[in-house]
C-alpha cells in the first residue's frame, strides 16, 4: 500500500517534466522523478523494524544478519543520487546558456530549430 506514494510522486514528476513551460520547473520535475525512484529502491530493501547495516564491536553477527536492512539497494541509490546530481548540474548549465542565447526560460518560444 505504501508504494502508492512512490507512484504518485513519480506521476507528479512526470507531470512536471511534460507540462511545464519553464526550463527550471522541468529541472524541478526531473529531480522529483529521480527522488521517487530512489525512494522506491530503498523501500524495497526495508525489513520490519530493521536496523542500519552497520556493525559495531558489541553487535552479534547472527542477530545482525536477521535484524538489519538490505544494504544492496542503498549502494545502488548512493550511486544513483550522485548521477542525479551530475545530470542536474549539466541541465542547469544548459539552462543558463539557453537563457543567454534566447533571453527566456520559456520552452515554447525556444523554437529556432526547423521541426
Amino acid at each position: 500500500m505504501i508504494y502508492f506514494f512512490v507512484f504518485l510522486l513519480f506521476a507528479i514528476g512526470l507531470y512536471g517534466v511534460c507540462c511545464k513551460r519553464n526550463i527550471v520547473k522541468m529541472i524541478v520535475g526531473f529531480t522529483l522523478l529521480d527522488y521517487s525512484v530512489f525512494l522506491f529502491l530503498i523501500m524495497i530493501g526495508y525489513r520490519k523494524d530493521g536496523q542500519a547495516p552497520i556493525l559495531d564491536r558489541k553487535s552479534l553477527l547472527d542477530v545482525f544478519v536477521k535484524q538489519s536492512v538490505d544494504p544492496l539497494p542503498q549502494a545502488l541509490v548512493l550511486t544513483a543520487i550522485v548521477i542525479g546530481l551530475a545530470v542536474t548540474a549539466l541541465m542547469v548549465a544548459l539552462a543558463v546558456r539557453i537563457y543567454e542565447r534566447y533571453g527566456t526560460f520559456d520552452i515554447t518560444n525556444i523554437k529556432k530549430l526547423k521541426g
Binding site: F30, L33, P73, V87, M91, R101, K112, L113
Partner: protein, 492 residues
C-alpha cells in the same frame, strides 16, 4: 575462460581523459594542444588494436575476485566482441578526423576528455554482465554525448541538446524504475543468473519489460521515441555526429535491446514487437528524410530508418535474418559515419550545410566528393557496395519467414533511400560549380585520410557477402546474439 584484457577497455579511455585534463592544467604553453591530440589518438588506436586482438573470443573477467551474484563481472561473447570492434573502429576514424576539424573550436581538452569518456561508457556497456552497471556506464556515454552535442554553444545546438537531455533523462528514470522492480522480486542483478530466474510472466515482470523497452528504445531512437535524433545529431560537431549515429545508438540502444530482450525475456511476443516497431521506423525515417534540405538532418533521418532495418533483421529471429541484421549493423556504422564526416568536411570548407546553396563541389573537393559517392551508393544499396548485400539478406530472410508486408516495406525503404541520396549527390557534388565556392580547397590531410579509410572499408566489407567469409565473421556473431543459452553458460 578468463580474459585478462577486458578491464583495459574501460581503464584506458578513463585514464586518457584524466591525464589529458591533468596535463592541460599543468602545461600552459601552446604545446599542450599537440600533446592532447597525440595522446588521445594513440589511446584510441591502442583500443582499436586491443579490440581486434579479442575478436572471436568468448570469456569473462571477475572484477575484484567476487563471483557474479556478489560482485560484478565482465562478459565478452562474439556478439559484444563484434560490436566492440565497430565502436573502436569508428572512434579511431573520428579521433583522426577531429585533429584538424576541432581546430575551429576552443577548449580542445574538454572535447577530447568527453570523447574518451564516451568511448569508455560504450565499452563499459558492451562488456558488463550486471544490470545496474550497464545503467551506470550508459549514463557516462549519454552525459558525455549531451555535453558534446552542445559543444559549439550555438542557439540551435543548446536547444537540441536540451531536448535530447529531456528524453534521455526520462529514459534513465524508466530504466532505473524497471531495475528496482526486477530487484525487488529476484534479489540479484547479474543478467545471466536473472535470466534463469525470470520464469513466470506476471504483471510485475510485464511492467519491468515495458519500462526497459521504453527506456532503451529512446536510446535506439526507435519511432515513438525518435524525436531527439533529428535535432541532436546534426547540431553536434561532425566527428561527434559520426560517433552518435554510427555507434552510440547501436552500442547503447540496439545491443542492449537485443541482449536484454533475447536473454531476459526470450519469447515470440518480443520478436513481433521488434518487427512492427522496425517496420514503422523504417518507413517513417525515409519519408521524413525526403523533404529535408539540410545535409546532416537528412542523414539523421536516414539513421532512424537504417536502425529500422537492423531491428527488422533482429525481429525476424531466423538465423539468416539475424546475420543480415549484424551485417547491416556493421555496414551502417561505416557508411553513416563516413557520410557525417563528409558533411563535416563540406561544412568545414563552405560553412554551410544547406543543399540549395551548394553545387558542383566535385571539381574543388575531389576526395570528399569521391568518398561521399561511395557512402551514398552504399547506403542506397547499389549492387557492388556493402549496403546492397546486407539489405538483400534482410529482405531475403523477410521473404523466407513469410512476412510479405515487411519485405515490401524494406524494398520501398531502399528505393526511397536511393532517391534522397541521389538528391544529395545532385545538389551538393554534381552540377555547375557556384561562384562563391570557386576558391574552396580540399580539406586537411587528417580529415581526408579518415574519410578515405572509411570509404575503403565500405568497399572491403562488401566482400563479407561471400559464403566463405560470411560463416567465419558474421555467423558466429549472429549465433551469439540469438542464443541465450550460450550467453548464460559463459559465466553461470
Amino acid at each position: 575462460m578468463e580474459i585478462k584484457l577486458l578491464p583495459f577497455f574501460v581503464i584506458l579511455p578513463m585514464l586518457g581523459a584524466f591525464v589529458i585534463l591533468l596535463l592541460n592544467a599543468l602545461i600552459k604553453n601552446e604545446a599542450r594542444y599537440t600533446i592532447t591530440d597525440i595522446l588521445s589518438n594513440v589511446i584510441v588506436f591502442i583500443l582499436f588494436v586491443l579490440s581486434l586482438s579479442v575478436w572471436n573470443k568468448t570469456g569473462f573477467y571477475i572484477v575484484g575476485g567476487w563471483r557474479p551474484p556478489i560482485g560484478i563481472s565482465l562478459i565478452l561473447d562474439r556478439f559484444s566482441g563484434f560490436l566492440l570492434i565497430i565502436v573502436n573502429l569508428v572512434a579511431a576514424a573520428s579521433a583522426l578526423y577531429s585533429v584538424s576539424y576541432m581546430s575551429r573550436y576552443t577548449a580542445r581538452r574538454y572535447y577530447y576528455a568527453l570523447f574518451l569518456l564516451m568511448i569508455a561508457g560504450m565499452n563499459g556497456v558492451l562488456l558488463t554482465g550486471d544490470m545496474f552497471n550497464l545503467f551506470v556506464f550508459m549514463e557516462i556515454a549519454t552525459i558525455s554525448s549531451y555535453a558534446l552535442v552542445a559543444f559549439g554553444t550555438e542557439a540551435e545546438e543548446l536547444e537540441a541538446s536540451f531536448k535530447y537531455m529531456v528524453m534521455g533523462n526520462l529514459a534513465g528514470a524508466f530504466i532505473l524504475f524497471g531495475l528496482g522492480l526486477i530487484y525487488s522480486r529476484y534479489g540479484l542483478l547479474h543478467i545471466a543468473q536473472l535470466s534463469s530466474l525470470i520464469v513466470e510472466r506476471d504483471p510485475l515482470v510485464k511492467f519491468a519489460f515495458f519500462l526497459f523497452l521504453a527506456g532503451f528504445s529512446v536510446k535506439a531512437a526507435i519511432i515513438p521515441f525518435h524525436a531527439w535524433l533529428p535535432d541532436a545529431h546534426p547540431s553536434a560537431p561532425a566527428p561527434i555526429s559520426a560517433m552518435l549515429s554510427g555507434v552510440l545508438i547501436k552500442a547503447l540502444g540496439v545491443y542492449v535491446l537485443v541482449r536484454i530482450f533475447f536473454v531476459l525475456f526470450p519469447e515470440p511476443l518480443v520478436r513481433t514487437l521488434f518487427l512492427h516497431l522496425a517496420g514503422i521506423s523504417l518507413l517513417a525515417g525515409v519519408l521524413l528524410a525526403l523533404g529535408q534540405m539540410d545535409m546532416k538532418r537528412l542523414f539523421a533521418y536516414h539513421s532512424i530508418s537504417q536502425v529500422g532495418y537492423i531491428m527488422l533483421g533482429f525481429g525476424l529471429g531466423t538465423p539468416l535474418g539475424v546475420t543480415g541484421a549484424v551485417y547491416h549493423l556493421l555496414n551502417h556504422s561505416l557508411f553513416k559515419s563516413l557520410l557525417f564526416l563528409n558533411s563535416g568536411a563540406v561544412y568545414y570548407r563552405t560553412g554551410t550545410r544547406d543543399l540549395e546553396k551548394l553545387g558542383g563541389l566535385n571539381q574543388v573537393m575531389p576526395f570528399t566528393g569521391a568518398s561521399t559517392l561511395i557512402g551514398s551508393f552504399s547506403i542506397a544499396g547499389l549492387p557492388p557496395f556493402n549496403g546492397f548485400f546486407s539489405k538483400f539478406i534482410i529482405i531475403l530472410a523477410c521473404w523466407q519467414s513469410g512476412h510479405p508486408w515487411f519485405t515490401l516495406i524494406a524494398v520501398l525503404g531502399s528505393v526511397l533511400t536511393l532517391a534522397s541520396f541521389l538528391k544529395v549527390e545532385k545538389f551538393a557534388f554534381f552540377g555547375p560549380l557556384r561562384q562563391e565556392w570557386k576558391d574552396v580547397k580540399e580539406v586537411p590531410v587528417f580529415m581526408i585520410s579518415s574519410m578515405v579509410f572509411l570509404a575503403l572499408l565500405c568497399i572491403a566489407t562488401s566482400l563479407l557477402f561471400l559464403p566463405g567469409l560470411r560463416e567465419k565473421i558474421l555467423l558466429p556473431a549472429a549465433e551469439a546474439a540469438l542464443n541465450a543459452e550460450a550467453y548464460r553458460s559463459i559465466l553461470p
